[in-house]
Amino acid sequence: MIEATSLTKRYGKTLAVSNLSFTVESGQVTGFLGPNGAGKSTTMRMILGLDNPSSGRVTIGGKSYHELKDPLRTVGALLDAKWVHPNRSARAHLAWMARSNRLPSSRVDEVLETVGLTSVAGKRAGGFSLGMSQRLGIAAALLGDPEVLLFDEPVNGLDPEGILWIRKFMHRLADEGRTVFVSSHLLSEMALTASQLVVIGKGRLISQSSTKDFVARAAENTVKVRSPQLPQLRGALEQASARIAPGEDGSLIVSGMDSEKIGELAAGNGIVLHELAPQTGSLEQAFMQITGDSVEYHTGLEIEAEQVLETAVK
């Protein structure tokens, strides 16, 4: 179990992580979600004792990382797949890590087998593709057979096959009863991988909940309504304080009210409906709405993209 308490990290004037508290329970995959630059990697480095928090603390099973004896046996992590000396072979890379935590060298061959790198174990790691490097990184994380696993953006830049492999692998690790904490900036990916979500933006906690709840809350559901008695309907809806936006070919897009309520309202007022269609927004859109102002670096392009999205919705 990972527990962060008022974790804060300041780089000069920038506040990378601000008063962040969350818990990661064992036996499930917990997603760590936030836009790029939200402080996910910084938080992960603090969990591993690589960066010192400016204030607050983070513990793993009640202990700080520095207090762990042979830490690879408790916590395995893949923060960056390229953290390997390019002229060292995959086996040599794992060999020194195993030695440093008094792990038998047979473990090296076992984890190479697990991630399917046995055939290239003697090749220099610098020549590996991103997918292979990622597998090597996962092998390194699994070396000490740890209860807690941290992965930072593990699917970034992978091809669909690689993504699928990692996704299945995470589930397998959680099914084995391990604590898996995986970061991503893609909600759609997390929706498939994680059962719990810790969402941050600009270094602050936005929410901690189950993925299901978050997605339900995030995806703002709208209802498309068409009616020959549009003005009356509009009036009734406005009275019931639903938000209304004009849709295409004379329809209305209603938000803040579900389709049952609208139907009952229409029936109560004797209004004929031609269409009553609930619409689910995309996860990415929802995520953008929730993390809205917490994106670190806004660009003109982003605003343009949002506008395009909005017109597409209308």
């Binding site: 480095r45 591993l48 004792g49 690589l50 960066d51 010192n52 990382y65 520095h66 762990l68 830490p71 690879l72 992590a77 923060l79 960056d80 390229k82 953290w83 390997v84 000396h85 390019p86 002229n87 060292r88 072979s89 040599a92 890379h93 060999a95 020194w96 890590m97 030695r99 440093s100 935590n101 008094r102 390194a140």
Partner: protein, 252 residues
């Protein structure tokens, strides 16, 4: 022991230490061959066979600095600190392994230089028949090992290969000598500069030579042989202590 074994695996599973070791041997032994080969018959001294040590020294410092800076460059320093959260212990182990390797390279290069001189000029008197002669040859490994400690410290503080190597080269090859140009006090300061003092340990006062020029330039330091070694060692370990303290506090 675990940490030493870890660092040993790390050091010997990349190629740059081997290239640096070979280059050191080539430079020092090659230089000894060149000097003995071009000396007139009857000339030559033990000191003269060790001319090349000054040229091997920068290569050794590059090896030692790279052992740290490549770890920063490729992120393996983070992996190291993740595996061994006790950074001081991890870095001391690294220093010990690199210094030991360098000590061995230094001894091979010194005795190799002496040996090739013997081979090329069997008639000359290269016998190691005084303690100064012995220190002249065996001391090379010690000075190299301590210089490696200095280079590791600089590598830890600077963290970039180019920066660390430039700093070491400029200091070792230029700064110490340029300080002598300061009027009045320059020479007094120079007497106490670490590499000049290390040179004092190796070359002594030159009494074991036939002529003063019969070997590398003598040091201006007036310390005794062992005091000179102790002074250079103290300098190296103070640097290392500063570097480790800084690294422990810094984000990896």
């Amino acid at each position: 022991m675990t940490l030493l074994a870890t660092e040993r695996i790390k050091l010997f599973t990349t190629r740059s230490p081997w290239w640096c070791a070979l280059l050191t041997l080539a430079v020092t032994i090659g230089f000894a061959a060149l000097i003995t080969g071009t000396t007139d018959a009857g000339g030559g001294s033990v000191a003269a066979t060790q001319f090349g040590y000054q040229f091997g020294l920068p290569v050794i410092m590059v090896l030692a600095a790279l052992s740290v800076t490549t770890e920063y460059r490729f992120g393996t320093m983070r992996t190291t600190f993740q595996a061994i959260p006790n950074r001081a212990a991890a870095l001391l182990a690294k220093t010990a392994v690199v210094a030991l390797l360098v000590l061995v390279i230094g001894e091979i290069s010194a005795f190799g230089s002496w040996g090739i001189a013997n081979l090329l000029k069997p008639s000359a008197d290269f016998a190691l028949n005084s303690s100064a002669d012995w220190i002249n040859v065996t001391g090379v490994g010690l000075v190299y090992a301590l210089a490696a400690v200095v280079a590791i410290a600089v590598g830890l503080l600077v963290r970039h290969s180019a920066g660390a190597i430039a700093l070491l080269m400029i200091y070792g090859l230029a700064v110490e000598n340029l300080i002598r140009l300061i009027p009045n006090v320059g020479d007094d300061i120079y007497k106490w500069l670490p590499f000049n003092v290390a040179n004092r340990f190796l070359t002594g006062d030159g009494s074991n030579r036939g002529a003063v020029l019969d070997g590398p330039p003598l040091s201006t330091s007036s310390l005794g042989t062992w005091w000179a070694l102790a002074y250079f060692a103290a300098f190296a370990f103070v640097m290392l202590a500063i570097a480790i303290t800084v690294t422990r506090k810094r984000d990896a």
